[in-house]
């Protein structure tokens, strides 16, 4: 078994294995955007934990930003679910499929208790990723969500309006996002790294 063996690589991705600073740099899940990977702690999205994406308006490009990572998760060797909790509109299946997402791994949950559902999905251990569009979560609830995401080894993504910027949050990563020309401008608001600032990401193909 050499160091390139995919099985070994997969084993070493275990969050409980600490391999020094150099290796830990690459422990994240690639976002699919090189410029963003360089900016994020761990070289990509965290594999477990809650992240927040603050947008000025619904549809600013927040979902497109996540698409490459979600596609990679649903195409992993042993994929778990990708749960969408109470999305504001219906995700368009042909578009998801054309972005490379395996639809068999996508579950859409609608119902009266989105935060409860989100916590169940995060903590169950049955999901690789869970997305939620919360209205007004309290800091205490965010803390619960963060703990549940760590427990279930799930990437939790919470989309919130821009005005939530002033509220404290237990999320491991907070990004601000706004449309900019033929792409988006991503601002790193909170994260386990010293880098801050905004980067412009053009959409592929535009």
């Amino acid at each position: 078994m050499t160091a390139d063996d995919p099985r070994l690589v997969r084993l070493l991705e275990h969050p409980a294995i600490w391999r020094g600073a150099g290796a830990a740099q690459r422990s994240g899940l690639s976002t699919g955007f090189v410029a963003l990977d360089e900016q994020l702690p761990g070289g990509g999205w965290p594999r477990s934990g809650l992240i927040e994406i603050l947008v000025a308006r619904f549809g600013s490009g927040e979902l497109s930003l996540l698409m490459p990572a979600l596609a990679a998760l649903t195409r992993a060797a042993v994929p778990r679910w990708c749960v969408w909790v109470d999305p504001p509109l219906m995700p368009f299946a042909p578009a998801l499929a054309s972005q490379g997402i395996v639809l068999e791994r996508v579950a859409v949950v609608s119902g009266a208790h989105p935060l409860w559902t989100f916590e169940q999905a995060l903590g169950s251990g049955a999901c690789d990723a869970a997305l939620a569009w919360a209205r007004r979560p309290q800091p205490r609830e965010l803390r619960r969500l963060q703990l549940a995401a760590e427990r279930g080894h799930t990437l939790g993504v919470l989309f919130r309006p821009r005005r939530a910027l002033r509220q404290p949050s237990a999320a491991v990563l907070r990004l601000g996002l706004e449309p900019a020309g033929d792409g988006v401008r991503v601002t790193l608001l909170k994260g386990r790294s010293t880098r801050r600032g905004a980067i412009d990401l053009p959409w592929p193909g535009s």
């Binding site: 497109s64 169940q120 449309p179």
Partner: protein, 492 residues
């Protein structure tokens, strides 16, 4: 490695309707039951040679029971063996050869059996013998015999009084006249004379007693659905108290499922009120479940969401759909660990969500080969908990969305990630659409014209538009008058 599916695995291979004792040197079966009996004989012969003789436990109760009570006792006795027969009004017969290993011997099995009856406030005598009638006769005589060797059967039975066979009083009196008061004395009488004087029926019974002839017994079939009702001492309306009130019913359900080695696929709970019609609370499950603690927790979730019109006077638990239960496979890896499969967490999550949010809360998505955007996708049932192998490598069969190198000049059409269930009409000024400000069209029109054959024809020109805040939208203009503008998707 194959582990036995059930603790009382082996005897289930025997026919369920009737069973027969081993006819070692008995007469040939009567021709009219020939086929049935031969089948039975064949199946008893399939028991391994190391344990040729069955072992019956005869149970005699000190009080006569109603048929219903006796059935209840029999269903409790199913814990020990799947072959239980009723002997009305006060006896039970259990074939326990296959259960000896599980209960670590005859002594422990006897203690467990007695313990079960003590728990049910019944007094019982238990005797073991190779033939059902012998076991029952010993128990009726109040003798806790343990006859495991068929060779000793006649000798051990000799001292039992004849009354244990429950023959008619007249027969007993005639036998008493010749000085035969015990089973041993009757067995010593000449067969031909015995049959001539007393008829063939007592002789057949004696043959069954000693194992010379097989005895057909009807195996007790437990009821296939579970229904228990509990009347409450006082009216309850608080969910937590109701949950506690349901607990004894779940204990019953646990016993019921264990005895049948079954799991439920749908559980129903009915709450009865003083005036209002009963409130129904159904709990459909993703797969057969036998863990009543989990079922109780799921029903608890359902209760929290339930609105009761009035306080509850009685609750009723009902499980009709029983399915054979297979215990889950355990995985070495913890859930969510890399390399570990999702296991049962997926179906657990679905059930928890459905219990709380309703049966239609969880959906999957799938694509249809259809050019009309609103018909190009459907909602499906929840996705499978474990992905089928090779799902990731399968190419998606979507029109225009084929993976590969030769698609460069046939690139997938640009589609929004969000779709509006019904297109939203947009305002228009100088031929251009508006939505909280002016919309800027940034793409060439894409014409979608389809569906003339099913009455839902569309003829539209789709554009990508950007609103004043920079949000990219998918809008279309109808090709037919009045050429209205509509919003159909958000690129997100």
């Amino acid at each position: 490695m194959r582990l036995p599916l059930k603790p009382v695995d082996r005897p289930t291979s025997l026919p369920a309707d009737t069973t027969a004792t081993t006819p070692e040197h008995g007469p040939a079966p009567a021709p009219k039951h020939g086929s049935t009996l031969r089948r039975l004989l064949h199946s008893t012969a399939s028991v391994p040679a190391s344990s040729p003789a069955p072992l019956w436990a005869g149970i005699h109760l000190s009080v006569c029971e109603s048929a219903e009570k006796l059935e209840q006792l029999a269903s409790r006795a199913l814990r020990f063996t799947p072959r239980v027969s009723l002997v009305a009004p006060d006896g039970l017969l259990l074939e326990v050869k296959g259960s000896l290993q599980l209960f670590a011997g005859l002594a422990t099995l006897r203690n467990e059996l007695l313990g079960e009856f003590v728990a049910l406030h019944r007094e019982a005598v238990v005797a073991f013998a190779p033939t059902p009638l012998a076991a029952l006769a010993a128990a009726r005589a109040g003798r806790s015999l343990e006859i495991t060797d068929p060779a000793q059967l006649t000798g051990q039975l000799a001292s039992l009084p004849l009354t244990a066979l429950r023959w008619p009083q007249e027969t007993l009196a005639r036998l008493a006249c010749v000085g035969a008061r015990t089973i041993g004395a009757v067995l010593r009488l000449p067969r031909a004379g015995f049959a001539r004087r007393l008829g063939s029926e007592p002789l057949a019974m004696l043959d069954a007693l000693t194992g010379r002839a097989p005895q057909a017994l009807e195996t007790f079939r437990p009821r296939a659905c579970f229904r228990r009702r509990r009347d409450l001492d006082c009216e309850l309306s608080h969910q937590a108290l109701l949950r506690a009130a349901l607990e004894p019913l779940f204990v019953d359900l646990d016993r019921f499922l264990k005895a049948r080695q079954c799991g439920v696929i749908e559980l129903e709970c009915r709450f009865r009120h003083r005036h209002a019609p009963p409130t129904l609370c159904a709990l459909p499950l993703a797969e057969p479940a036998a863990d009543t603690a989990r079922l109780a927790a799921l029903l608890g979730e359902r209760l929290d969401a339930l609105r009761l019109p009035e306080p509850v006077r009685a609750c009723e638990l009902y499980a009709a759909a029983l399915l054979p239960y297979r215990p889950p496979r355990r995985c070495l890896w913890q859930p969510g660990e890399h390399g570990g499969e999702a296991g049962t967490e997926g179906s657990d999550l679905i059930e928890r969500l459905r219990a709380r949010l309703g049966p239609r809360a969880v959906h999957g998505l799938s694509v249809r080969a259809e050019h009309r955007p609103e018909a190009g996708w459907t909602l499906t049932g929840p996705p499978p908990a474990v992905a089928p192998r090779g799902v990731a490598s399968r190419k998606c069969a979507v029109p225009g969305i084929t993976a590969g190198e030769d698609t460069r000049h046939d690139s997938p059409p640009h589609r929004p990630l969000w779709i509006l269930p019904v297109p939203e009409a947009l305002a228009e000024r100088e031929g251009l659409p508006r939505r909280r400000g002016e919309l800027r069209l940034t793409s060439e029109p894409e014409r979608i014209e389809s569906g003339w054959w099913d009455g839902a024809q569309i003829a539209r020109d789709y554009y990508t538009a950007i609103d004043i805040h920079g949000v990219r939208l998918w809008v279309f203009r109808e090709r037919e008058a009045p050429h209205g503008w509509f919003l159909h998707g958000v690129f997100g």
